[in-house]
Symmetry: C2
Subunit: 144 residues, 2 copies
DNA sequence: ATTCCTGCAAAAGATTTGCACGTTT
DNA sequence: AAACGTGCAAATCTTTTGCAGGAAT
């Protein structure tokens, strides 16, 4: 199947869906396309504000919701923090979160995926979705 | 898993720790000991209110915090819902959540545990904690 | 008596929404 | 012009906290 959808073009995606591309949205989308992989709403808002001080936090949230509803981004709620957003569309993966820095690393294990399926099936269920998060710290780092 | 589920005695646990056993706490602890395994704060509050209408939601939360700090219960935040509390102290396990009913089933997979360790280590991390949740539906149940 | 708890109301943090106005198509 | 989108403030929802009175030890 066609893959190679590395570079995202949210703007086209929304335009094609008949959604208007406004100044605020343009700013937010650019941040998503160019910025870090797992920003939270406040982070997006801060960056957007630097480019266009009139953008509001509400609009950030509303834009995230539109993208999420279209499957263009995924929302993750890691322990103890606000929602963080990541571009969707790649292969499925799970997350490893550095508890010291908040950094997120993506990983994938077909073995784990298979085992999950097995477990669910053996209990009479089918998996709708799942989440696996490893909260970790760099080996050797001293305890805070 | 197989071993007899030792009945919890939160009251003794707290008393031994020098924490006062008040009327409100007695009520709440009884609910935890006798009720379902994964109630949320509001559910505990409702049940407590039936026994003693003066118990407040604040006290429910405060009591949960005390128990959590002592490792007597664990708090879980499943997708889209409020925190749910479960008696701690058994072996580690993960959760399977029925998305139709909210019911929680505990399971454990040593294979998955081992794979997680392997993955974290191969990336240069050690696991601090982790969470694996399977959001599922009964096989054969028709879609809503 | 002293220390700890409690209920209440208010605060907090994250996110959503009503509304009147401004912008995109 | 007609729809749609925006900022702002206010509302939600869940959880926490300040405070002054009450209860446990």
């Amino acid at each position: 199947m066609g893959e190679a959808k590395k570079r995202r073009d949210y703007e086209k995606e929304l335009r094609d869906a008949g959604i208007r591309i406004t100044r605020a949205r343009k700013t937010i989308l650019k941040i998503l396309e160019e910025g870090e992989k797992h920003p939270d709403a406040m982070e997006i808002f801060r960056r957007a504000s630097e480019i266009d001080a009139t953008v509001s936090l509400s609009t950030v949230y509303r834009t995230m919701k539109i993208l999420e509803d279209r499957g263009a981004i995924q929302r993750h709620v890691f322990e103890g923090g606000p929602s963080r957003f990541e571009p969707a569309g790649g292969t499925h993966h799970d997350h490893l979160i550095d508890t010291d820095t908040g950094e997120v690393v993506e990983f994938r294990s077909d073995k784990i995926e298979a085992l999950q399926e097995e477990i669910a099936r053996s209990l009479g269920y089918e998996i709708v979705s799942h989440r696996l998060e490893l909260y970790v710290r760099k080996i050797g780092r001293r305890r805070g």
